[in-house]
């Protein structure tokens, strides 16, 4: 099914997009739906759009739900290990 479910997360980030160029992005779009490419019926999808693009330029990731949980754990493990003073911008 198409879940219609979409969650936005404000981010201070850059992404390397099509053509190998970096761009600043401020809105991570997270949803669970049919993938375009990943070998699964439904995936956790993350888009980091280029807000200056008129052609929908973005960095896109599609992964299974289990993969997404592994990624969440890896991110948490890394952030938990970093000295707190380094995470304050």
């Amino acid at each position: 099914m198409c879940t219609y479910l979409t969650v936005h997360a404000p981010v201070i980030a850059s992404a390397k997009g099509p053509g190998g160029a970096w761009f600043e992005t401020s809105d991570a779009v997270v949803y669970f739906d049919h993938p375009v490419h990943a070998p699964a019926e439904h995936t956790l999808n993350i888009d980091l759009p280029n807000p200056r693009s008129t052609t929908g330029e973005r960095v896109a990731i599609e992964m299974t739900a289990a993969s997404a949980r592994e990624l969440m754990k890896a991110i948490a493990d890394v952030l938990d290990t970093v000295p707190i003073e380094l995470t304050v911008n």
């Binding site: 099914m1 779009v29 049919h34 052609t55």
Partner: protein
């Protein structure tokens, strides 16, 4: 049947008189024929949707598949445009109806049109096809596993769509519904609710539930593809449109 077809991108007037891109496919020749409006699924105006449009043309119909995400990112790849549309909250029902009205008018204005127009949609487009048939003058509607035509979305599911239960009494055309019995959205209960309403309202309809079949069984490039259900579905669509869209 006509194996010789012509496909092109066209612009038509949609909601708010916006110019909207569509994929127009027509059988060669000048004989009058019916038309089919194809509503793409949420992943967008993609290759699979255009393949479906071409198949209907080989069946003898003029076909228009509107790019429902044209406004969001007119020059983007279909998947990127779908991502932009999703990030912006999706396609509002009012806009979809306006685009469908424009697309139906465009099809009826074609020189080879016999005046009959059917609508078909898959997944989110299935719900939209029913919505169109409740609000726009069409002659036949096919709903392929559209979720949230009936049923109440879970509280844990922050959907931006509503079901169409209140609108179904206004359904203007015979309905063919093709569903997978293993699907959860729409579930067999949702499909049963749809059929119950159609019976109660005296609407001409055929509902088919395919056993051992889940969601998206027409999608040839995904693991959900079920050739037996899809083949039977195409046969039923052929007969259904043959009945209601002939001149």
């Amino acid at each position: 049947m006509s194996e010789a077809i012509t496909a092109s991108f066209v612009m038509f007037s949609g909601a708010n008189d916006d110019q909207v891109q569509g994929y127009l496919v027509m059988p060669d020749g000048s004989a009058p024929r019916g038309s089919v409006l194809v509503l793409h699924h949420m992943p967008g105006f993609d290759r699979g949707s255009k393949e479906i449009a071409r198949r209907f043309a080989t069946m003898g119909y003029n076909v228009l598949c509107p790019n429902l995400y044209w406004r969001e990112a007119p020059d983007a790849a279909p998947d990127d445009a779908a991502a932009v549309a999703r990030a912006n909250g999706g396609v509002p029902d009012e806009r979809l109806i306006g685009d469908a009205e424009g697309a139906v008018a465009y099809l009826r204005a074609l020189q080879t049109s016999n005046g009959k127009v059917g609508v078909i949609g898959y997944c989110s487009g299935g719900r939209q096809s029913v919505l169109v048939a409740c609000t726009v003058e069409v002659d036949a509607v096919v709903d392929c596993y559209g979720a949230f035509v009936t049923g109440i979305p879970s509280d844990r599911f922050p959907l931006k769509v509503t079901n169409l239960v209140d609108q179904l009494p206004a359904l203007k055309a015979p309905l063919l519904g093709l569903f997978g019995a293993d699907d959860q959205y729409p579930s067999p209960e949702h499909v049963a609710e749809l059929e119950e309403i159609l019976v109660r309202e005296g609407k001409v309809h055929t509902i088919v539930n395919y056993e051992g079949t889940g969601h998206g069984f027409f999608t040839t490039d995904r693991s959900a593809y079920r050739f037996d259900s899809a083949n039977d579905g195409w046969a039923r669509i052929t007969e259904f449109y043959g009945t209601y869209l002939k001149g």
